[in-house]
Symmetry: C2
Subunit: 141 residues, 2 copies
DNA sequence: TTATATGCAAACCCTTTGCAATCCG
DNA sequence: CGGATTGCAAAGGGTTTGCATATAA
C-alpha cells in the first residue's frame, strides 16, 4: 500500500524543480526520526554530519516539501515551527506535555466527523484543522 | 450569574500589583469589542483615543490580564497573537476563514468530552487545548 | 518615600529576502 | 549554456528587555 521509500528526485522533477543535494539531505534528515523537529535542529544535524547547507536553504527546502505534502508544518505556539514527515503517516493530531515537551499523536474518527458537521453548520468548507491538547504527561504530573 | 462588569482595580490589587491608567485602558479596549485583536491594534486604538501608552506596556498589560484569566491569547498561526475578552465568554473554539480572516466561535460538548477521554487514555492531565478549523466561509467559497 | 510601572529604543528570535556565486539539466 | 538554487548577511515582523524616569500607594 504505502511505498517503502519516496523518490524525492521524481517528485521534485515532476514539479519542474531541480533535484539537489541539499534538498535530498533535508528530506533524509526529516525521515531519519519520528520527532517533531524545528528548522534549527535540522540545520544543525546536517552541518554536524558534514553536509554543506545554509539555514536559508533548510527553510526553502522545507517549504518545497510541505507544498508537496511530504512534510507537515506544526505550530505548537512556542514561536517556532516543527516539521514532521507526512508521507508515511496517517492523519493525526497532538497531545503536548507542557513540562517536558513530549508529543504524542492521537487520532479520533468521531472528532473528525464532528468537525465536518461544525463546518457545515456554519457554512464553511474545511481545508485543514489544528487540534492540540496541552497538559502534563504521565511522567510529569 | 456573571458580573455585568469587572472591577479590574480589585483584581490587580489582589495580585499585589498597581492599578494604573494604562492597565485600565487596555482592559477597556479589549472589552469594547468582540473582535480578536492583536497587540498593534490595541496600541493604535488607544493612541488614537489620545491615551498615552507604549507598545511595551500593551504587551506587559495583556500578560497580566491573561494570567488573571480575563483575556485569552490566540495563536492563529499567522505570526501574531490575538486576544479576546474571556471573563464574560463561555469556553469556545474557532473556525477561521483563510480568505477573509473571519473568525466564528463554536462550542461542542461532545468534542470536549472526547478530548478528556483521549487525555486519560494517554495518561495526560489536560490543562488547555487549541482547536481551530480553517477553511472558506460562506461568502468566500 | 520607595518600589513598581512606564516609555523608549535596542535586543531577540525565528523566518524571509536580495544578490552574487554556483550548479543542475 | 542559462536559469534555478544556493550561501551569506541583512532585513523583517512580532515580542521582550534594560534602564532611567514617572508614579501609585
Amino acid at each position: 500500500m504505502k511505498p517503502s521509500t519516496i523518490d524525492l528526485k521524481a517528485i521534485i522533477r515532476a514539479e519542474g524543480l531541480r533535484y539537489t543535494n541539499q534538498r535530498e539531505s533535508v528530506w533524509q534528515e526529516l525521515q531519519s526520526s519520528d520527532d517533531h523537529r524545528d528548522a534549527e535542529d535540522i540545520y544543525f544535524s546536517l552541518r554536524q554530519k558534514g553536509i554543506n547547507i545554509s539555514r536559508a536553504t533548510v527553510y526553502r527546502t522545507i517549504e518545497v516539501l510541505v507544498k508537496n505534502n511530504l512534510v507537515r508544518k506544526l505550530d505548537l505556539g512556542d514561536g517556532k515551527n516543527r516539521y514532521e514527515c507526512k508521507w508515511d503517516a496517517a492523519h493525526h493530531d497532538h497531545l503536548i506535555c507542557t513540562e517536558c515537551g513530549k508529543i504524542v499523536e492521537f487520532m479520533n474518527d468521531q472528532v473528525e466527523g464532528i468537525q465536518s458537521d461544525i463546518a457545515r453548520e456554519y457554512g464553511f468548507s474545511l481545508s485543514y484543522h489544528i487540534h492540540q491538547l496541552f497538559g502534563l504527561c504521565e511522567d510529569c504530573r
